[in-house]
């Protein structure tokens, strides 16, 4: 019994780990029934694995049996791996006992498709209902929407889950067709749109009626695998942008492809996952969501891919030197946000602090801006007078010379003698 549950957990956690979403934020559930669990608005990462990724939720598959044969997936039908399936009670017990010991913020439940979509969705629904209704559990639940499941099942699941998600898998339809001929983006879009429409319906009702049950309060998210197929960064981010806009997604996740198959259509086994590219895509995502950038400013036909050696914000600034230098003491908040080396918190502090007097370099440093980077783009009260206007490329060289990328293991300019 003991060994069997250990084995199941190992198989089904291992198969679920390629889903990167682990966020537990945005939940609004309160512990009003003297039960177990209470959501934390900002979410909590309870630990981090040795690859540096956060562990917030117990992320497992209900089963890794699957009728599909998607090339990029470890649980594909043709893959020779051990198969297992949890019972509903096993998942409930694990979740409750892990939660009670403060190991986790909640449950992330996904599944391979066994028999058909509805059969699978019903099982997932059984788990969440049991947790919420029988165990008085108010912790976080992230549930996968199974594409093709009936509207009734999805709607019911939404009453108990905090977040629901469906993965786009590949950034473009062509890429998906190549690796998973049985699937298409339409199958993902339909349930995403359905849940989105339900969320807005419930929100609208809430304005009129006091007691409306919550429906997916933490919203929806999706994930794209990058580096498995030859899309450009522009393709990826334009798709992300469209999905943010059309379905009010809370997050789009970018998952660097970790080779798991010998198929010639994809990077071979042993290829390093594209970690730096993944990082640049997330930086672009943040610029879109928190810094007021339009995706077209960062990626366009002239620049279809992100720079590898510098981050996208610096890259934009260097291409658009006509906007700089920015005067810290008079510029608009929106423009201060666009200065490389200044983040959201620092920008807010600057705008508050300058009401009390013009700011100097030492004050800016104390506020916490990355001065060595920002100094090329700003003027403040005691900025040194500069005779020469530097070109963007020169500034890039200055910054690269004094900073070291954590991703570049060996300095490419350094020659090796022996």
């Amino acid at each position: 019994m003991f060994d069997r549950i250990r084995e199941k957990l190992n198989i089904l956690a291992d198969a679920a780990k390629y889903d990167v979403s682990c966020s537990s934020s945005g939940g609004t559930r309160k512990n009003t029934n003297k039960g177990l669990g209470d959501s934390h608005t900002s979410g909590i990462c309870h630990t981090y694995t040795e690859d540096g990724r956060c562990v917030s939720l117990l992320k497992i598959l209900l089963t890794n049996h699957c009728i599909y044969d998607c090339l990029f997936c470890v649980s594909r039908k043709s893959n020779d791996v051990k198969r297992a399936a949890f019972t509903v009670d096993e998942v409930v017990e694990l979740t409750m006992n892990f939660y009670r010991r403060n190991y986790i913020e909640g449950l992330f439940l996904s599944s391979g498709i066994f028999k058909n979509a509805d059969f699978t969705m019903e099982r997932l629904l059984l788990v969440v209902k049991k947790l919420r209704l029988e165990q008085n559990y108010n912790g976080y639940i992230h549930l996968k929407t199974i594409p093709g499941a009936s509207d009734e099942l999805i709607k019911e699941a939404g009453l108990y889950a905090d977040r629901m998600s469906i993965n786009l898998e590949m950034p473009t339809e062509a890429g998906l067709k190549l690796l998973a001929p049985e699937k298409n983006h339409g199958e993902v879009i339909k349930p995403l749109a359905f849940v989105q429409q339900q969320i807005s319906q419930f929100t609208a009702d809430k304005k009129l009626i006091k007691h409306v049950p919550t429906f997916v309060p933490a919203g929806q998210s999706t994930q794209m695998v990058i580096g498995a197929t030859p899309e450009s960064d522009k393709d990826i981010m334009y798709t992300a942008n469209t999905f943010y806009k059309n379905f009010s997604l809370k997050r789009v996740y970018y998952s660097g492809y970790v080779p798991i198959s010998n198929d010639t259509r994809m990077p071979i086994l042993g290829t390093q996952p594209p970690l730096l590219r993944e990082n640049r895509l997330y930086q672009t995502d943040w610029l879109m969501r928190f810094y007021g950038f339009k995706v077209q400013e960062i990626l366009n036909d002239a620049n279809p891919n992100l720079d590898i050696d510098i981050d996208p914000k610096l890259s934009w600034a260097i291409r658009n030197m006509q906007h700089f230098p920015v005067d810290i003491n008079t510029a608009d908040y929106k423009m201060i946000l666009r200065i490389p080396g200044i983040g959201v918190m620092s920008a807010q502090k600057i705008v508050q602090a300058r009401k009390f007097g013009k700011l100097r370099i030492d004050q800016l440093k104390k506020i916490g801006i990355a001065y060595n980077r920002a100094k090329h783009f700003i003027i403040c009260l005691d900025s040194p007078y500069q005779l020469k206007d530097y070109q963007g490329t020169q500034i890039k060289a200055f910054i690269l010379a004094e900073s070291q990328s954590k991703y570049l293991k060996t300095d490419s300019n350094q020659m090796i003698l022996f």
């Binding site: 956690a13 177990l36 981090y48 694995t49 040795e50 562990v55 009401k355 004050q363």
Partner: protein, 254 residues
């Protein structure tokens, strides 16, 4: 001139009261444990007075909103000697200026408080994340901690709301006091450990029979969730500094 106070929150506020009554000019505030007499500097020992402290606190509440009241209290909980002096100077600065003076991030005391508060809030958040309860034989969920700052007052509500249906104890080994939730309210407790006990995690004999099973499953899960091809030790250590490992079930060897 040096003001010496007893290290309590009320003592700090009383010191501010005394300063405004005397207006002795420039003053540095130090707490009794770290105070060392200096030959050429005068010193004055503040005697803590609840009434005076309340008046100062009431005044501060009129000066800034909840977010800054919290920053103020958090800075105090940092227990850092320099923080006390910054708090003192900050309070004087706030009373001597117009409403809204706390958002002057060009002021050294404002920026210092913002930094102390940030460190304390970070520690509080980490403790909320890294506490690992062990279920004891009598059904109490028990956890030891030794945080860098005195965060127990800040985490009490979080755990009370979250674990409303289970009795729990969180014990600060460094400051020798803890919190006990008895299904209705949270109380402060002190435990007198017999020799050596309390230094480490619970002895197996005291634990519930299911404890070993779930601890093992959690360790297994932690291993399975890792993607070896993405190994990044630097990032791992940045998020989970080694000083917390001794209390993390997944990091403690069996």
């Amino acid at each position: 001139m040096i003001y010496i106070f007893d290290g309590t929150f009320q003592g700090l506020l009383t010191a501010v009261f005394e300063w405004f009554e005397r207006k002795p000019g420039k003053v540095v505030l130090k707490s009794t444990p770290i105070f060392q007499p200096e030959a050429f500097v005068e010193s004055f020992t503040v005697s803590t007075n609840a009434e005076k402290a309340d008046r100062v606190w009431a005044g501060l509440q009129k000066k800034f909103k909840k977010d800054w009241q919290r920053k103020y209290y958090c800075s105090f909980l940092s227990e850092i000697p320099e923080a006390y002096n910054h708090l003192f100077q900050f309070t004087v600065y706030i009373f001597q200026n117009q409403l809204g003076a706390e958002s002057n991030y060009g002021n050294p005391h404002v920026i210092a408080l913002a930094k102390y508060a940030k460190s304390v809030e970070r520690e509080k958040h980490r403790i909320e994340a890294f506490i690992r309860f062990q279920k004891t034989g009598d059904g109490i969920f028990y956890a030891n901690i030794d945080p860098d700052f005195n965060v127990l007052p800040l985490i009490s509500n979080h755990f009370k709301n979250r674990y409303a249906d289970q009795p729990w104890v969180i014990y600060d080994l460094k400051r020798k006091y803890g919190l006990h939730y008895n299904l209705t309210s949270v109380e402060e407790i002190t435990i007198s450990f017999s020799n050596g006990a309390g230094k480490q995690n619970l002895a197996p004999v005291l634990m519930d029979e299911s404890e070993a099973l779930y601890a093992t499953l959690w360790k297994d899960y932690f291993k399975s969730a890792n993607i070896v091809a993405r190994k990044n030790t630097k990032l791992h250590l940045q998020h989970v500094p080694k000083r917390y490992w001794k209390y993390l079930t997944e990091k403690v060897p069996i």
